[in-house]
Amino acid sequence: MARFDTKDDSVIVIIGSGAGGGTLANELCQKGFKVVLLEAGKRQSPATFHNDEWAAFKQLAWLDKRTTSGSWRIAKDFPNLPAWTCQTVGGTTVHWAGASLRLQEHEFKAKTTYSGVTGANLLDWPISLSDLKPYYAKAEDKMGVTRTNDIPGLPGNNNFKVMYNGATRVGYKTVHTGRMAINSRPRDDRSSCWQLGFCFQGCKSGAKWSTLYTEIPKADKTGKLDLRSEVRALQIQHDKNGKATGVLYADKDGKQSVQKARAVCVACNSIESARLLLNSADSTYPHGLANSSGQVGKNYMRHTTGSVYATFKQPVHMYRGTVMAGIITDEAELNTKRGFAGGFEMETISLGLPFSAAFLNPGAWGRDYTRILDQFINMAGMWIVGEDMPQESNAVTLHPTEKDQFGLPIPNVHYDDHPNDLAMREYAFKRGAAVYEAVGAVQTIAVPPYPSTHNLGTCRMSEKPGEGVCNGWGQTHDLKNLFISDGSQFTTSAGENPTLTIVTLAIRQADYIAAESAKKNI
């Protein structure tokens, strides 16, 4: 591992080592840039991961205190845990399930396509699908996405068998084991999938793509990567000319340092990215860095989600095998006849007994609830992931009084479900139940959203500087050497799992940084 001096202002500092930051670090190192990668969490490995839901949660999850407000049920059930993301090297790519779907053309033009959704702060992306196509191809190759690059699909597990039979019986046409960044054959020095059933807990076989054991070691091999784990970025600093100059951070013993930088890239996942910019406020930028638009933290999106589980007379053992290798895409297409804007995917999901008890109806107790858990091995499950409407009032803000261990305000996450989100969820619950009823479900259970894993939009891309935080390259409108490199950039949420697009944007951003650097603009 390289070690660069904190005064070396030729390095690029990237904050966060997940899908955006970890990928960007490797791409920049491959181009010869020196990169300092700051990561809040510890380094784990497939050998240290746990095939155990609670133990893994404790090992990997971001557990720093946050507060919540708004009408979403998360604020009641998990008031201090709005998001289920990771604090570890590799970020949430350690926890993600691997579903790798491209956004659709019309989803980049949400304002134009869904014109007139009251209360939604819709905007078209400043980029289109054609801008991303070559980069999507690079990302799919990098990540080894099944059903691309001649990589076969994964074999379906029992949970998929139930989904497939139900889906085809109700008339759905596109049902398969998905486009997954999980090896169906050995590839890129990683094994094929063992069907462990613990995708969310860190993949012990290494078959699932994670920056932890792909991008980061590849970057390290160039001799250009200085990964500093267990450090906390506190503030991005700048000069009088509107350029970012470095990052103030604390190491695990609390010692504070400033790492100088030629450019700073923020990839802390949507809650912390916005919080860091807001916490970087000073007399020059009293409302936070890169926030002349006032949009930092605003338009927080988390996808319209929910799950449908069903019990059957015979065993399913849904927890065996790849968690999310199963998809119905029919409802994701543009279809304005259902009474709501946007589309959704239906994907297999499973939980073990411990998390089924915790999540199937958070807070529930008594016999009606335990009768469902009694059917655990006879249960199948699917997750709904759909486009949610951006709202300016759905926002990450700084808590007025509560501070973290560094004396910085903790984030509050406010989310009200938009009527469009509610209409989509209700419709999706019914369609999911219909799938299972078609194959003899005894009971179907509509399960409310889990803490958010898809956190999007708090530093959104916009054509006009007044409408968002960064341009189509993730470059902030206000400081030309400050970049947003994670899902915070998303102008709208689209209906697809976001990781593939985050990786795609990071590859593209690296090209842009290299080009601007060559022109001496950065």
């Binding site: 095939n51 155990d52 609670w54 133990a55 404790k58 999850a61 205190k65 059930d77 998990f78 008031p79 201090n80 845990l81 076969p152 699909g153 994964l154 074999p155 379906g156 597990n157 029992n158 998929f160 068998k161 139930v162 497939y164 039979n165 049902v175 398969h176 084991t177 054959r185 050995p186 094929s192 999938c193 063992w194 069907q195 462990l196 059933g197 613990f198 012990k204 076989s205 015979q314 065993p315 399913v316 053992h317 927890y319 065996r320 095998g321 007994l353 411990p354 089924s356 008890a357 915790a358 958070p362 107790w365 008594g366 016999r367 335990t370 858990l373 009694d374 655990f376 091995i377 803490p451």
Partner: protein, 181 residues
């Protein structure tokens, strides 16, 4: 102190902390005589009351008392380390006993449920429920009772251990679900 307050406010995180605190080992409380003899901080009556309460919160006929006794033993272990938890549990039991004509443990099952319903938003109830959620459902012996197999890494995954053994529905075509490598 702030950290502790925070943990107490979030049921999920409380549960996570409890999971780590209790691990999966079964506490050796049942070695002789009544199981309550192994309690360190809670009195026998408090233990018995919490046992009845735990059975009503997550009732499973297939589970013997021993699994719920472990829930109480885990609460007792927490109480031994944290006086505020001990106080919460002891006062909670006393309040519960006073809330009906008879002591909670003497009530009919329906009356026990009704009594719990009245206090379900209280910190006492939420503490017991949150700890039980982990202590009960993260107990590997309980997993066996439910047929949940848990970790598959030691056997090389479910690839050769039933990940696709469902026979009561037709197999999807290979275009939808290719054969394993």
């Amino acid at each position: 102190m702030k950290r502790r307050e925070f943990l107490q406010k979030s049921a999920l995180v409380v549960a996570g902390a409890a999971a780590v605190a209790s691990g999966v080992a079964v506490v050796g409380y049942a070695d002789e005589g009544k199981w309550t003899a192994g309690l360190k901080t809670l009195k026998a009556h408090e233990g018995e009351t919490l046992l009845k309460m735990a059975r009503q919160i997550y009732p499973h006929e297939r589970l013997a008392d021993v699994y719920y006794e472990k829930v109480v033993a885990d609460l007792d272990a927490e109480a031994a380390k944290a006086p505020d938890i001990a106080k919460l549990l002891q006062e909670g039991v006393a309040t519960l006993d006073r809330s009906s004509a008879k002591e909670f443990a003497q009530l009919s099952s329906d009356d026990q449920v009704a009594a719990l319903k009245r206090i379900e938003d209280s910190p006492f109830f939420q503490k017991v429920r949150g700890s039980e959620l982990v202590s009960l459902y993260n107990n590997h012996e309980v997993w066996k009772e439910f047929g949940y197999q848990g970790a598959s890494y030691p056997i090389g995954g479910y690839l050769h251990h039933g990940f696709d053994d469902l026979k009561w529905l037709p197999d999807p075509p290979e275009s939808a679900s290719p054969k394993p490598a």
